[in-house]
Amino acid sequence: MTESLPALTEPAGAAAPHVPAVRRGAFRRLVRNPLGLVAAVVLLVVVVGAAAAPWLTTHAPDAADLRSAFGPSAPGHPLGLDSAGRDIWSRLLFGARNTLGGALLALAVAMVLGIPAGLVAGYAGRWFDAVSGWVVNLLMALPAMIVLLAARAIIGPTVWALMIILGVLAAPSFFRLVRGIVVNVRHELYVDSARVSGLPPWRIIGRHVLVVVRAPIIIQISLVAGVALGLQAGLEFIGVGSSSDLPTWGGMLNEGFQFVQRDRTLLLWPGLALGLTSAALVLLGAALRDVLEDRGTDPVVRRRDRAAQRAVAPAVLDGKAERSPLLSIRSLAVSYALPDGSQREVVHEVDLDVRPGEVVGLVGESGSGKTQTAFSALGILPSGGRVSRGSIQVDGQEVVGLSAASWRQLRSHVVSYVPQEPMSNLDPSFTVGSQLVEPIRAATGASRAQARERALGLLRSVEIEDPERTFRAYPHEISGGMAQRVLLAGAMACNPRLLIADEPTTALDVTVQAEVLEVLRRLQQERGLGVLLVTHSLGVVADLCDTVAVMQDGRIVESGPVDQVLTAPREEYTRRLLAAVLDEGQPPTVAAGRADEGER
């Protein structure tokens, strides 16, 4: 059984040859994590102690000397002697072999059964998935301790058989973990690519799937090992595990418990060993999770951010043009805190105005800073980002450094937001109606019936044909275009004067985009809205906007009336953008010319 001991470190070791670079980096990070380091050292000491037991003590674990029972610690007996005069230190060391060995056996059985079954069920699916799913559900419904006690009654006091049964009972935890991950990976495009490349299934699993499940399995191992250890010791403690002369920590606890009045240290040593090992396994699991799934540094950065957030360098406003009463941005800079504490500026010196009734387009490619600029004007920069310089006025009020409560006030009366992904901005577990009614009630204090009337009116205003039905529908029951209309309706709920729309039609089909743009245009004209429209599409700009600002690398490179910027651009970058539009050379009215064609 000693040969199974080194298996404690095997999972990590076995994974190492595949991607040595990644694993080595992970190990280094684990050692740098204080909890991980302590846990790893404790486990290493326990394993080495168990493996080197014959060299660490001169006494056999079962050599009894009744005359010196309950003997104190003495040279040669560092921890004293137990009720039968056996050396406690020696029993602890040899007991570690049996206790850890039992836990490892259970763990090995659980992995051998659970992981391959999970891989096959997740990858191949079909009948195997269904059948193994039933078996797993059945196993999980069984109470482990009772099954083990029953098994003990039938097959007798052999700890190894019980550990194999425990392994079977623990197999579902690996099965479900692996299957869940594999099902997701299976639908990744790179797995499809590998299939199209002609790779046989076993090589796809080896190259693409195992890599993904490796880290979660390692984490799971340390957690299941802790549980197995506890159950194993529990069985020994209540005296149903092994026959009594085999030294185990649980057995020692049992003995110590019987003589607790006479000598408390009998309970102390095995309890300490068990507690330390279990705690080390749990902590190692937590540390592995942090290391392998890249967590743990976040809170520190955020705290630092919050301190930095308050410091905004004032903008130099001399000589800048007159400011718009609705939205006015001057010398805006947006910075992000990097993990090493430094700041990276992603928006530099942006000036932008939106006047009442005016539609301003903000165009640029990905990473140009257009969305960051819009988010600053909404006060919704993602964590880590902040306005580091400049001034933003909404409705004449300076909003840089505004409190969350004042922002809420502003957002529920002056400024509204339409996001890019309509579907992910509706909560799938509530009806469309309730998601419209709640904000209306919160903002206006209207009664439920009044808010409902208002919500239906809003749905009608965005040209939804059957508002009652949409009101009752859940988000998955409506199309993407419909969802975007619902969000537009929601944005109109508080009668805003400024609408900030971030790529509002990018996720939609072109035919649906045309409809949504029509709705947006009508709402804008009827209500005299000021609109800041963030988009990458010059066509959308041409369709809807009065003025446009072109962003590149965090700066506005050109701005002006749409007619001028799109037809007679002054800047090289704008010309390059326009040249990349694929409509060039095609008279765009060709498609519209069917009426003329008919006359010919």
């Binding site: 990744e188 690519s193 199209v196 490349s197 790779l199 490619e365 010059l538 799109l566 326009l578």
Partner: protein
């Protein structure tokens, strides 16, 4: 006219319904397509139209419920695993999303070598071929030892193109290959695809929702809507003299970057389609 490289006739594809014994849901209702060797066949349609499913059926990634797919004179719609592996030499794919079509934990070199090793090349041959491929798609040779996250979207799509080209296929299914890219990047990737076609004579099935992109690269264009091809013809025919109302709707709803021209287009759209559903 010569025999087409790939013929799709009466193709039907169904997906199982949700829930126990739910009826199947048919997404393609008898689709016909013919792709000539060395040409580009554009396939344009809205979301949920089934355009991606056609490509996946040709690649053997979804089961075919009815109809036939013939490649180079041989039926492939019922190909077994072995025939599929042989076919992978001839038919390849470029997916839309350059961020999930590359395994994030594999180096570019390993990703590109994968199809070569699957065709039993030695790893040394594969490595020298990979270097050549990176050169073909204008990526630096040191890209081989780097991970996908170090590359931009456009560069990743070049890597995906290199992977598709690795074993010299005769047909590449391009599933929205430039939809996730910026305008200027889109242009350079399209140029690369066209240059590859000129030098290797590969045929493309070019699937996209963007009529402008399809018009730019295709010789022949088919318009698909709700699992049926509604119009098919040369790129010029389909985009300049569209017959089917849906094609006209697609054309008129795509905004153009010229404000004056867009006003005209918008008026035409309103005249024809105001108040109707797509």
């Amino acid at each position: 006219m010569s025999e087409p490289l790939l013929s799709v006739e009466g193709l039907r594809v169904s997906f199982p319904g949700k829930g126990w014994r739910a009826p199947e849901h048919e997404v393609l209702h008898g689709v016909d397509l013919h792709i000539e060797a060395g040409r580009t066949h554009g396939l344009v349609g809205g979301s949920g139209s089934g355009k991606t499913t056609i490509g996946r059926a040709i690649l053997g990634l979804v089961p075919v419920a009815g109809g036939s797919i013939t490649f180079d004179g041989r039926p492939i719609h019922a190909a077994g695993a072995r025939q599929r592996r042989r076919l992978s030499r001839d038919i390849q794919v470029i997916f839309q999303d350059p961020f999930t079509s590359l395994n994030p934990s594999m180096t570019i070199g390993d990703t590109l070598a994968e199809p070569l090793l699957a065709q039993r090349l030695s790893s040394r041959e594969a490595r020298s071929r990979v270097a050549g491929l990176l050169d073909d798609v204008a990526l630096p040779a040191d890209a081989m030892d780097r991970l996908p996250r170090e590359f931009s979207g456009g560069q990743r799509q070049r890597i995906a193109i290199a992977r598709a080209l690795a074993i010299g296929p005769r047909l590449i299914v391009c599933d929205e290959p430039v939809s996730a890219l910026d305008l200027t990047t889109q242009r350079t990737v399209l140029d690369l695809l066209q240059e590859v076609q000129r030098t290797t004579g590969v045929a493309y099935l070019f699937v996209s929702h963007d009529l402008a992109v399809v018009r730019h690269v295709s010789d022949v264009v088919s318009v698909i809507r709700r699992g049926e091809i509604v119009e098919s013809g040369t790129a010029v025919q389909v985009t300049e003299r569209p017959q089917h109302p849906y094609t006209r709707r697609l054309l008129l709803s795509a905004p153009v970057a010229d404000p004056a021209a867009q006003r005209v287009r918008r008026e035409a759209y309103r005249r024809e389609f105001a108040g109707t559903e797509a």
